[in-house]
């Protein structure tokens, strides 16, 4: 069950609209629908919004925003029905699993008691939701991981994993955008560049989007990577958001 959201101040420049204090995919979907509806209101002084697993942060211009009007809008939207599970785009993302692209596939398979092929099949099965983006720019936390694939984080975090890595950390899975440190298990990599400077848009995936993984053989990597370097999206957009 979800209760009415509670609005809490982050100083004068933001408000947190908190729906719960736990992770729950249904709740996250409701938050994304709320985010889309709230953003569509285009209230003065609302600079941008950051939906996360359990709350939305409303970043405000303190000199312009009308906090009373914002609080009213939040309460009105909170009682409105949410019949859409999500508002984002649906993307198909090609992934090379295992080998040099996914050095931890074997470790995840061993922990799950599955063959590497079964891990790939289980990871490519769900429709993932981008629950939130954080940690590093473009790092998409995906909800919907098969519980059988949950794997405790590495005891020895890596100082750097490549951009576009597909990883598992605990009960979560993610697509990274930038090279960076990680304690998660890297099971594959996509030739898609979720972030590319100068491309429009710079970031392909945002909160509320749906991601489907499509396993591809390593032999397809070079050509797709070359296309991506030229600015091609590679990821296939299955629906408009």
């Amino acid at each position: 069950m979800t209760r009415d959201p509670v609005v809490r101040p982050l100083g004068d420049t933001a408000l947190s609209v908190e729906f719960a204090d736990r992770i729950d995919p249904a709740l996250t979907a409701r938050i994304h629908a709320f985010d889309a509806a709230f953003t569509a209101l285009r209230l003065p002084g609302v600079i941008e919004t950051v939906p996360t697993y359990r709350a939305i942060t409303l970043h405000l211009d303190p000199l312009v925003a009308d906090r009373a009007a914002i609080a009213d809008a939040v309460q009105n939207l909170a009682v409105a029905p949410f019949d859409r599970a999500r508002d984002g785009a649906v993307w198909e993302v090609p992934v090379v699993y295992g080998g040099a692209f996914g050095p931890d596939l074997a470790a995840v398979a061993a922990h799950a008691g599955l063959t590497p092929d079964a891990v790939i099949a289980a990871h490519a099965e769900p429709q993932y939701q981008v629950a939130m983006v954080g940690f590093l720019p473009g790092f998409c936390y995906l909800s919907g991981l098969d519980a059988a694939l949950a794997t405790p984080r590495r005891a020895d975090p890596r100082a750097r994993i490549p951009a576009s890595s597909i990883s598992i950390g605990g009960a979560q899975t993610a697509i990274g955008s930038l090279e960076g440190p990680s304690g998660w298990h890297v099971i594959g990599r996509t030739p898609v560049r979720p972030f590319q400077p100068g491309r429009t848009p710079e970031f392909l995936f945002g909160p509320g989007d749906t991601i489907r993984m499509r396993p591809i053989p390593a032999s397809e990597w070079a050509a797709l990577d070359a296309d991506a370097a030229q600015g091609a999206r590679i990821a296939t957009r299955l629906t408009e958001g």
């Binding site: 809490r8 101040p9 982050l10 100083g11 004068d12 420049t13 933001a14 947190s16 908190e18 204090d21 736990r22 992770i23 600079i47 941008e48 919004t49 950051v50 939906p51 996360t52 697993y53 359990r54 709350a55 939305i56 942060t57 970043h59 303190p62 000199l63 906090r67 939130m132 983006v133 954080g134 940690f135 590093l136 720019p137 473009g138 790092f139 955008s177 930038l178 972030f195 400077p197 710079e202 970031f203 945002g206 909160p207």
Partner: protein, 332 residues
């Protein structure tokens, strides 16, 4: 087009403006000047708009050589002294520099961040709407080092007024905070310690966060929450109970409880507390925080008008297509 060559500098010399907006939902930190009022003052000295990109120098000074062109420069912030060809520039004043001149900024004195503004701004292309460096992700121009050339917007700086502005940004006393969002996770005794004690600024502080040493602030509900959005000024309390005030380079989300948030009007003042300095907090309401933000905005608006401000608009610099980034002379 003019260029300023970095002859020597300490770590952390970067280009900063008002920071990036519109990309928080993609996890992109805002970055931007740690002390916005000082940035505005430095820019006002040279006739720029308050949020034009300038050089931010933490702690240590730097020396530069004007390689070509002529312009007007001005410094504000942490009490640093500007000198042209070894001749000190009077405090809070702008100065004309010509090709061949040597520009020196002394180490910070009584603060941390000094801003060196150049008439017309810095001619680097904006990235996602801002020229601010974010060192951890590599967004914006790279951190500057000796040998780098800072491209300047134009050579017509000599027409800018040579000004003196003896203004200081408003504010003193304890740093003002609005309680929350997780204020209820901390008991009465913890709140009494938070507001009653002095916290010492740790040497491990940087643009990501100001780390404070003081009484432990244990949370009654543990020190892990499900990640949610944060802002510069959020006071996170991790498991060791020692608070961290997030800075302009902070990540967009965080999983530690936040006892309170430093109000935006006091963020610049807070950033200027050097390691070892003591900080006290006092609570204000959100309405008082907004009023303080308005007072600071009024102070910035009352700075002498930027007659050249139109030239610092990003679109203008982009249209001239002067240069795509800070040039690195070391490769030549």
């Amino acid at each position: 087009m003019g260029a300023l060559e970095v002859l020597s500098c300490g770590p952390g010399l970067t280009v900063q403006d008002a920071g990036r907006t519109g990309y928080l939902r993609f996890g992109v930190p805002t970055a931007g000047a740690m002390d916005r009022a000082a940035l505005a003052l430095a820019n006002a000295l040279v006739g720029n708009a308050p949020e034009a990109a300038a050089l931010e120098l933490p702690f240590l000074g730097a020396t530069f050589r004007m390689r070509s062109g002529a312009t007007v420069i001005g410094a504000a912030g942490a009490g640093a002294v500007l000198a042209i060809n070894e001749i000190p520039v009077p405090a809070a004043s702008a100065a004309l520099v010509r090709a061949g001149d040597r520009v020196a900024v002394s180490p910070a004195c009584g603060g941390v961040y000094t801003y060196l503004a150049i008439a017309g701004g810095i001619a680097v292309a904006p990235e996602m709407g801002s020229r601010s460096s974010h060192m951890r992700t590599g967004f914006g121009p790279a951190q500057l080092a000796a040998g780098d050339h800072v491209p300047l917007a134009d050579e017509a700086g000599s027409e800018a007024a040579l000004r003196y502005i003896g203004a200081a940004a408003p504010g003193d006393g304890p740093i003002r905070v609005v309680p929350g969002p997780q204020d209820s996770h901390f008991g009465e005794g913890v709140w009494a310690a938070f507001l009653g004690a002095a916290f010492r600024v740790s040497a491990r502080s940087d643009r990501m966060g100001l780390r404070l040493d003081g009484p432990r602030l244990p949370s009654a509900r543990g020190h892990d929450i499900v990640s949610e959005g944060v802002v510069p000024g959020s006071i996170q309390v991790p498991g060791d109970g020692q608070p961290i005030v997030l800075g302009r380079d902070c990540q967009t989300t965080g999983g530690y409880p936040k006892i309170a948030t430093v109000i935006s009007a006091d963020l610049g003042r807070l950033a200027q507390f050097p390691p070892g300095a003591e900080i006290r907090f006092r609570t204000v309401s959100a309405d008082e925080a907004i009023e303080a933000a308005r007072s600071l905005a009024d102070w910035v608006a009352a700075l002498p008008g930027g007659m050249r401000s139109a030239r610092t608009e990003p679109a203008e610099l982009t249209r001239h297509n002067l240069i795509s980034g800070i040039t690195d002379a070391r490769g030549h």
